[in-house]
């Protein structure tokens, strides 16, 4: 059967047969890098279009419908426009940091791709501390945003960056605790093992209510971490015009924009991996026939389906809710989400020790 797993296997076999192991590894690295960049570009185009279409449908509009059939080339045209635009640098800006910031944000998003399992045995780097790696690297994105806000030498940017700093640092906690519940249940930090542990059912279903709570907490926390509405305080356009990227234009702005969508994809992919079984098909206990049918659907489709479902939910949030105020945002984290997630983690630990999950 033609699957992503077999393609990688054949490629590697062929490379090892042709070249020396070092050379083969180098070539593999280059291929992976190229694939990553392609994935980024495609994801950016698709997600922006998806967001605009979802927003339009919710707002009883049609959305982009002029460029190509149903407007599918709209984002490609937009990208072309952004590439051709001049990338302005303000006179009083810190030029080096100002130009570096979009790339820092982008690089963080790229690093996060490494441990994600896109399909069965299709993973860039199955690092044994995968979840820890994700938590630590994702918190680096705040540096890029702070850098952009500070270097712009614009008051709106500065306020936006400071808000973003406070927000990401706070919400990192509940996101971490939500991830920890799964780590506690699985007993491993490795992504492949977490997926394998969901062989007979996804954690969301077999982990009782505490995992459902953890799932909800995770969705809220990552929405905040990726600066999405209703937590988009860093770029609250009615308050700070565009927040930390007020001064950016052209392709540098596009990189911020792209990074936002890539981050959404990544957090949703991680959410899907931890709670919804990643590429694992829907298996229900001992229904052998049903499980067998589900196995026929390729694992990559399972993964993408789950991820895009979560992305849709986050978009749904954005187009429904008003924005929170900055102090309410921090109240929500420290007074509601953090106590609940601490208590929830305790509960899950008890469940894990007593083995009450299926």
């Amino acid at each position: 059967m033609l699957s992503l797993e077999s393609i990688t296997k054949t490629t590697q076999d062929w490379l090892l047969a042709k070249f020396s192991p070092t050379m083969a590894l180098t070539i593999e690295c280059i291929i992976v890098i190229l694939l990553c960049i392609t994935l980024f570009a495609v994801l950016g185009l698709v997600l922006v279009l998806l967001e605009r279409k979802v927003a339009a449908r919710i707002q009883i509009r049609l959305g982009p419908n002029r460029v190509g059939p149903g407007g599918i080339f709209q984002t490609a045209a937009d990208t072309l426009k952004l590439i051709m635009k001049e990338g302005l640098t303000p006179d009083t800006a810190d030029k080096f940091l100002f130009n570096l910031a979009p790339f820092v944000v982008m690089m963080v998003a790229m690093l996060l791709l490494a441990p994600i399992a896109f399909a069965k045995n299709f993973q860039i780097w199955d690092i044994n501390i995968g979840v820890l790696y994700i938590s630590s690297v994702s918190s680096l994105s705040v540096i890029g945003i702070l850098m952009a806000g500070w270097a712009s030498n614009n008051k709106y940017s500065l306020l936006g960056a400071m808000r973003s700093g406070a927000q990401i640092v706070s919400y990192e906690l509940s996101a971490g605790f939500a991830v920890l519940t799964i780590v506690v249940l699985t007993g491993s930090l490795q992504i492949s093992e977490i997926v394998a542990a969901q062989q007979n059912g996804w954690w969301l279903f077999k982990g009782h209510i505490p995992v459902v709570i953890a799932f909800v907490l995770y969705i809220i926390a990552v929405t905040a971490e990726t600066n999405r509405a209703p937590f988009d305080l860093a770029e609250a356009e009615s308050e700070l015009t565009a927040g930390f990227h007020t001064e950016y234009s052209g392709m540098k702005f596009a990189l911020f924009f792209l990074a936002e969508y890539i981050n959404i994809f990544i957090v949703c992919a991680i959410g899907a991996t931890l709670f919804l079984g990643g590429w694992m098909p829907l298996h229900i206990g001992s229904w052998e026939a049903f499980n067998h049918i589900m196995d026929y659907i390729p694992s990559s489709i399972w993964f993408m389906g789950k991820t895009f479902f979560l992305i849709f939910v986050i978009m749904w949030f954005r187009w429904t809710f008003p924005r929170l105020r900055v102090d309410q945002l921090l109240n929500l984290e420290w007074k509601y989400l953090l106590p609940i997630s601490l208590f929830n983690l305790l509960l899950v630990t008890v469940i894990a020790i007593l083995g009450w999950y299926f």
Binding site: T92, Y156, L159, E237, S238, T241, W319, F321, R325, Q328
Partner: protein, 378 residues
């Protein structure tokens, strides 16, 4: 206004006590036009707000001094463009008062219905824009869907969607459209169905409530001292509905309640406007089937000349009390005309109620004051 070097200096330097001075506007997504606020911040907390006006100042008062009493009505549509009908009514009423023109009953009733439709349209737009200020985009489109029905009705009858100029001294410019009544009834039906959507999406929403409750509290004493009127004052418990106090047109024969809340915060201002829309629907329902037959415009002379003297006419626009004060020397043009615009007084309260709150609160406060900048600048 600042000159260029001032603005550059402003964005890099700090205020006298190390405070951040931010220019909000004249191009800013939340100032709804060209309002320029110089906001002094301490971190996220607002220390002082100083409005700079005049970016859309057209000196309408001066302009009206050279226009005749028929002509100057159209200019007032451009003041508070969201309640242009009500502005026109105010001017027409004043000229009628000054010349003792009899207005036919039909014209009075139609004017009342159109005024209330305008009020609903204005509040609909306000709900959308207000929700957008707070970060919720979707209610904007739902509100505009209903507003679109009103503008269609206006287009049918008045020939324009925003700046109608349908009201002339003595009555109406032409008779209502034959389908006017059926369309208004269809609108009432749809409005009653869809108004619950705002409850679901906005009013009941926990985030919206926490953003507006207890934010920008205006006490009744302050509302009086700052000369506030309209929903802003009524949300603070000050009864100031001109439609009740000095009824004009057909308001003396319809039943409606003056909506009064006592909390005085942004949420109360929101609730007042939502309830006011329902009261407007109530007024329209009472009148729509009882439009009397007859003339639509009274007998007027070709050239209108106001008697020598001073005249003042108050009406209740969607934003509050609009006063038109005319000093006439007996000629065909006014000697001095003054528009007491509701937005001007309501804006002056902004510094007082938004002080010591967060930037996010400023948006909620400013949104619920319902500022229309051409109305403030005139």
């Amino acid at each position: 206004m600042y000159n260029q070097t001032d603005i550059i200096k402003d964005t890099t330097d700090l205020g006298p006590d190390g405070e951040l001075v931010v220019n909000m506007g004249p191009q800013h997504p939340a100032t709804h036009g060209v309002l320029h606020l110089v906001v002094t911040l301490n971190g996220e907390t607002i220390k002082k707000i100083e409005p700079h006006l005049g970016y859309i100042h057209r000196s309408i008062e001066k302009m009206c001094e050279s226009l005749t009493y028929r002509q100057f009505i159209y200019v007032t549509s451009r003041m508070d463009y969201l309640s242009s009908h009500i502005n026109n009514t105010a001017c027409a009423l004043l000229v009628e008062k000054g010349m003792q023109i009899e207005v036919p009953e039909r014209a009075k009733v139609v004017r009342t219905i159109l005024n209330e439709l305008t009020r609903i349209a204005s509040h609909e737009l306000w709900i959308g824009a207000m929700a957008m200020d707070l970060g919720a985009f979707t209610p904007f489109f739902y509100a505009f869907r209903e507003r679109e029905m009103i503008t269609d009705i206006m287009e049918d009858t008045c020939g324009a969607r925003l700046t109608m100029n349908y009201i002339v001294p003595g009555g109406l410019m032409y008779d209502i459209h034959p389908e006017f009544q059926t369309k208004v009834k269809a609108f009432i039906k749809q409005f009653k169905e869809k108004v619950t959507e705002y409850e679901d999406l906005v009013t009941g929403n926990i985030i919206f409530q926490s953003r507006t409750k207890g934010v920008g509290v205006l006490t009744a004493a302050d509302a009086i001292s700052y000369g506030c009127s309209g929903p802003v004052a009524r949300a603070s418990g000050v009864s100031c509905d001109i439609r009740k106090i000095a009824p004009y047109d057909a308001y003396d024969r319809v039943e409606f309640d003056e909506v009064i809340e006592t909390a005085g915060d942004s949420f109360a201002r929101y609730i007042v406007r939502v309830k006011e829309m329902n009261q407007s629907i109530r007024i329209i329902e009472q009148l729509i089937d009882n439009i009397p037959e007859g003339e639509f415009v009274g007998k007027t002379k070709n050239v209108l000349k106001l008697n020598k003297g001073e005249f003042y006419q108050r009406v209740e626009t969607a934003r509050g009390e609009l006063g038109v004060y005319i000093v006439s020397e007996g000629g065909t043009t006014p000697h001095r005309i003054k528009f007491r615009s509701p937005g001007f007084s309501n804006l002056s309260v902004l510094d007082h109620i938004a002080k010591n709150s967060k930037i996010g609160d400023l948006m909620a406060t400013m949104g619920t004051l319902d500022l229309v900048i051409p109305d403030i600048d005139r």
